[in-house]
């Protein structure tokens, strides 16, 4: 087991997970080194969000070990898990902003809950975080008044409010225009380096992410099918990676959710 100060912050060993009968992860081995930005890629529905939930301790693996900062999540009490989560930030796939609070209060929420900082200091910190995502001017708006991309940037500011040691982004680029996309990509990189944090980024945006990440994992059918540094990935001849980079419909990654053959079901039950 890695200790608190080892080079690996998050370590997954043979992690398995199923929703009821439906097996999602069939044995994932993955390391997130300290100080690095790691991307996790894979087709829609392959279990990337599920994987982040497992690392955050919101879901329990049905097999294998999830280790964060040297602690086995399965052994932690609620109190210990909460203590660990205070040092994690997570950007949810759909933002999950608190709709009854303004943008400012959303970002201030973790600060107010977990620190006793005076209001002026909280104000300065919140405005700094909002400035970093380019939304200082939107501080008084309500989440309902934001566009999808803006809401995602606010959620990003909230995820980093407490300067976490581990930041997890679930599709940070979805719904962003090309300019914000580049800016947010750079921001993710800079935040990671400035905070001395480690970052896990789930994304489909392979070209953008290859420019900012240190390492990439590809998931398919519940397993890691390819991994490497961006240079290795670009040079890779792996059919899976090729399909992903060139966005081909045919290849090892299935586009369809598992189903029975289409033709018989079109022809009706009697025809088969």
């Amino acid at each position: 087991m890695s200790s608190e100060s080892s080079a690996t912050l998050v370590q997954l060993q043979d992690v398995r997970f199923a929703y009821g009968e439906r097996v999602i992860l069939r044995g994932i081995d993955l390391d997130i080194p300290r100080g690095k930005v790691v991307a996790i890629m894979g087709g829609s529905g392959c279990g990337k969000t599920t994987l982040l939930r497992l690392i955050g301790g919101q879901l329990r693996a049905s097999g294998g070990i999830v280790n964060v900062a040297g602690q086995n999540l399965a052994r932690l009490s609620t109190r210990e898990l909460y203590a660990l989560r205070r040092r994690m930030g997570m950007l949810f796939q759909f933002g999950a902003l608190f709709t009854d609070m303004s943008v400012f209060d959303n970002v201030a929420f973790p600060l107010r809950e977990h620190t006793d900082l005076p209001p002026e200091l909280i104000r300065d910190l919140v405005l700094m975080k909002l400035n970093a995502v380019g939304l200082r001017g939107a501080a008084t708006l309500k989440p309902a008044e934001l566009s999808g991309g803006m809401a995602r940037r606010v959620a990003l500011a909230r995820a980093i409010a407490l300067d976490p040691m581990l930041i997890m982004y679930d599709e940070p680029f979805a719904g962003l225009d090309p300019i914000s996309l580049g800016v947010i990509g750079q921001l993710i990189r800079r935040l990671n380096d400035a905070l001395g944090a480690s970052t896990i980024m789930v994304t489909h945006d392979i070209l953008e992410s290859l420019q900012i990440v240190d390492y990439v994992y590809f998931i398919s059918e519940g397993r890691i099918v390819a991994h490497g540094t961006p240079d290795e990935i670009r040079a890779s001849a792996d059919p899976f990676v090729q399909q992903f980079i060139h966005a081909e419909a045919d290849g090892p990654v299935p586009f369809h959710y598992p189903a029975e053959p289409f033709a018989p079901s079109l022809l009706g039950p009697g025809a088969a």
Binding site: Q58, R85, M88, A96, F98, D100, H114
Partner: protein, 264 residues
């Protein structure tokens, strides 16, 4: 044979689901009490909920109380009059309100006005992953979201019931004394003499506290337990209103049979 088997199977499933849900509700209530200390220490959270469920229910409670009192005035006078005791109208109005109508009707109104709103709010927070996000930020949703709403309901309910009764008495006075012309002195003095503080008023308050706790618990539980979709939230709201009404009426019967058995 197969049909029978499937019926038995479905019955078994329904029972297991019911028991499971009951266990879940009990565990939920336990956690709610466990985390209440934490959230009650941050008084402003609960005060905010007292505002949302209590203060915003004021109008409907005041208006309904007034109308119920006025109806009591009309009906009560009409009946009492036949026995030549129209002067006892004040007693009739005050006793029916403090013992029964105040707590029960106010609780029914409270369930449909505030209970449904609480369920909808918590259910939507669940559906939009806000509760999960909070949990991920190491803030316990039961302590931060559920407990304040529960205690907000428990605190508001007796106050609303008292206000309802007061407005009802005022409505009865308006009809009885001002409109019909019952003797004002008799109206108030008979009321004062016949309404016992410990027996009538305190029992009414106890009822309203119990109803408040029941409605608030049902509302927060249904919201927290709902299926996180638009349809799931709407079902949860319906269940809140229906189960609250049933719980209020059933609890009222139980409490009344303990409180007012054979006395006076």
């Amino acid at each position: 044979m197969n049909g029978l088997l499937s019926v038995v199977r479905r019955l078994g499933r329904a029972v297991i689901d019911g028991v499971w849900r009951l266990g879940f509700a009990t565990r939920f209530f336990g956690l709610l009490l466990l985390y209440s200390g934490q959230s009650l220490r941050r008084v402003h959270l609960t005060i905010r909920e007292v505002y949302f469920s209590g203060v915003l229910s004021l109008l409907i409670i005041i208006v309904s109380g007034l109308f119920v009192g006025m109806v009591l005035g009309l009906q009560g006078y009409e009946t009492l009059q036949r026995f030549g005791s129209g002067d006892a109208l004040g007693v009739l109005v005050a006793l029916s309100l403090t013992r029964e109508l105040g707590p029960v009707v106010a609780a029914l109104l409270f369930a449909s006005r505030a209970g449904s709103a609480v369920t909808a709010e918590i259910g939507l927070m669940k559906a939009t992953e806000q509760l999960k996000a909070m949990d991920m930020m190491a803030v316990n949703p039961i302590a931060r979201v559920v407990a304040p709403r529960f205690w907000g309901g428990v605190i508001s309910m007796p106050l609303l019931a008292a206000l309802f009764s007061a407005m009802g008495v005022f409505g009865g006075w308006l009809i009885g004394v001002v409109l019909i012309g019952v003797d004002e002195g008799a109206f108030w003095s008979q009321m004062q003499a016949a309404v016992d503080f410990r027996f009538d008023v305190v029992n009414g308050v106890i009822k309203s506290v119990v109803f408040g706790a029941a409605v608030a618990l049902i509302a927060v539980f249904e919201g927290y337990d709902c299926t996180p979709t638009a349809e799931g939230v709407s079902r949860a709201i319906t269940r809140t209103v229906v189960s609250s009404a049933l719980a209020i009426l059933a609890l009222d019967f139980v409490l009344t049979s303990f409180m007012f058995r054979g006395q006076s």
